[in-house]
């Protein structure tokens, strides 16, 4: 299993989760966990996903998610899990 963290930040609007999840499903990326809050009208979501089944290059996925974020009007980042794991776990 190769885990990544997808973060979505921005102004809340209809269908953010739907569109992100559709994109992930289309690219054979399995969602393992979702947490989400709204702080002062701002949408803040984190997904832990498994990218071991995806067929595209990781950098292509990152670029496409960037573009999807621009389209929805939010910021989407996709990062390898290790950066968070290393920083916050001994």
């Amino acid at each position: 299993m190769k885990k990544c963290i997808v973060t979505v930040l921005g102004k809340d609007t209809v269908g953010i989760i739907a569109r992100v999840c559709t994109y992930l499903a289309d690219n054979k990326i399995n969602i393992l966990d979702i947490s989400q809050t709204i702080i002062q009208g701002y949408f803040n979501m984190m997904m832990i996903v498994d990218v071991s089944g995806m067929e595209k290059d990781f950098r292509v996925i990152c670029d496409e998610m960037d573009a999807l974020g621009v389209d929805i009007g939010v910021t989407i980042h996709c990062q390898r899990e290790e950066i968070f794991e290393k920083m916050h776990r001994l």
Binding site: S35, Q79, I83, K86
Partner: protein
């Protein structure tokens, strides 16, 4: 499992507190490039660098993208060139051809700096060492990406005052050779005492002869992250203050360790060390001076500055050491003037003087760094300042360095502009009394005794 709060904290550090990996520096040994034929030597050097470092920049960019962490610089350090060229270079100009080769190789592989145009002369100089040192002004004025350093002293050997005198002259000559660019050449020239073999930070990076054929060293950064964390402990005691610095330094260094491991694996080059330094940039919120202010100083340079810096430097090391499997390089807090907005402001306000900076270098990594001084400063005065800083390093068994920029044609009250990460600096006054007779004595200062510590 990682939670939303932790992910937000990390991404906040990256997006708003200037957390980055300052440099991946690929050390390349040039020992096997040596030849008595200068053309052949240059060919060997070029081929080895281009071959070894061909994937460095693209690998760095891949890691940046995948982990979402900026890696600001990808750089190369090489074996001190004085050694490599000793058999082939009969005069300073011969060494300049190697500088041009290194510059060409750096451009070919896309790195912004290549360090190691260096000589190690802590006891005395060979003819080759002297030729290299004499070639520095021309080498730095004719190339773009070369960084040069000279180690003129150590705790074990004392201080080579002949080299100190020569370096004072070369700093001045380099300033004159690059006078049209606010003496920018001097920003790429460092004079060391106790220089480390594995430093990834420019301009003092070189690959020592005790190192492997190729090695990955990583320099982290993160003054903004420490500053932000300290905002949460305003008014609290020293215990909380120190714990906060340690924890933050740990987190920052872990990122460096991760990047170093990935780069090493992907390039198939062994991992050397992580240099856990707080390295500022001229960007707002990326300043070591601001941390010292957050600790409680009105401005850097105020009484208490040395103590606050000593505390900061020590806690950074304590937090960082556990976060990395191997720590090395300069590891500590950097206090360059031109590369730190808080330091620039302190100099402008008259809070920070050259003398106070010298005191600060006793308790932190490196030394008198990126300080613009009047262009009329004599070579002997520059040598005197170098000698003082080397003495601090020699006696305290630590690395110290001098990177002074005598800005030709400018004086106190004016500003030197270097651009980019090198920043800008108000010109700082220098003590007007001379030291020529002292500097002109021949020979070396003997190594200090390490008993009777008083």
């Amino acid at each position: 499992m990682i939670n939303l709060y932790e992910v937000s904290e990390t991404n906040e550090m990256i997006a708003h507190e200037n957390l980055d990996v300052r440099t991946i520096t690929l050390g390349i040994s040039l020992l096997d490039c040596m030849d008595s034929d200068l053309d052949k030597l240059n060919k060997n050097v070029y081929e080895k660098i281009v071959m070894t470092a061909r994937d460095l920049v693209s690998t760095g960019q891949d890691i940046e993208r995948e982990f979402g962490i900026p890696i600001v610089n990808k750089r190369i350090s090489v074996t001190p060139v004085a050694l490599i060229g000793a058999a082939a270079c009969k005069c300073p100009d011969d060494y300049v051809t190697i500088a041009c080769t290194l510059d060409k190789a750096a451009k070919e592989v896309g790195v912004n700096f290549i360090g190691g145009y260096s000589a190690l002369v802590s006891k005395s100089m060979t003819k080759g060492d002297e030729n290299l040192i004499r070639s520095i002004p021309r080498a730095l004025s004719e190339t773009e990406r070369i960084c040069s350093s000279v180690n003129v002293g150590s705790t074990r050997t004392g201080i080579n005052m002949d080299a100190v005198r020569l370096c004072g002259e070369m700093v001045r000559a380099t300033a004159e050779a690059t006078a049209d660019r606010d003496s920018l050449g001097c920003a790429k020239l460092v004079i060391f005492c106790n220089a480390p073999d594995d430093n990834p930070f420019m301009a003092g990076a070189f690959l020592g002869v005790t190192e492997a054929d190729a090695v990955i060293n990583v320099g982290v950064s993160g003054p903004g992250v420490v500053k932000k964390a300290l905002e949460q402990v305003r008014g609290k005691g020293f215990e909380e203050l120190c714990e906060t610095i340690k924890k933050t330094a740990f987190k920052v260094t872990r990122v460096g360790q991760l990047v170093a491991g990935e780069a090493s694996k992907r390039l198939d080059i062994p991992f050397g060390i992580v240099d856990l330094s707080l390295a500022p940039t001229p960007a707002v919120g990326d300043s070591v001076a601001e941390i010292l202010q957050e600790i409680g100083l009105e401005r850097v340079g105020a009484p208490g500055t040395t103590a606050a810096l000593a505390l900061l430097n020590d806690q950074v090391k304590k937090g960082g050491v556990m976060a990395s499997s191997y720590v090395g390089g300069l590891s500590g807090a950097f206090i360059p003037v031109s590369e730190d907005q808080g330091m620039i402001d302190a100099v402008k306000l008259g809070a920070l003087t050259l003398e106070k900076l010298e005191a600060m270098t006793c308790v932190c990594s490196v030394g008198l760094d990126m300080i613009a001084i009047p262009g009329k400063t004599s070579a002997s005065t520059i040598s005197g300042i170098i000698a003082d800083e080397m003495a601090i390093g020699m006696v305290n068994q630590k690395t110290t360095a001098v990177r002074l920029i005598p800005v030709i044609g400018k004086d106190v009250g004016e500003t030197a502009e270097f651009g980019g990460l090198l920043g800008y600096a108000p010109i700082i006054p220098v003590n007007q009394f001379g030291c020529e007779t002292f500097v002109n004595r021949r020979g070396r200062i003997p190594a200090p005794i390490h008993s009777f510590k008083n």
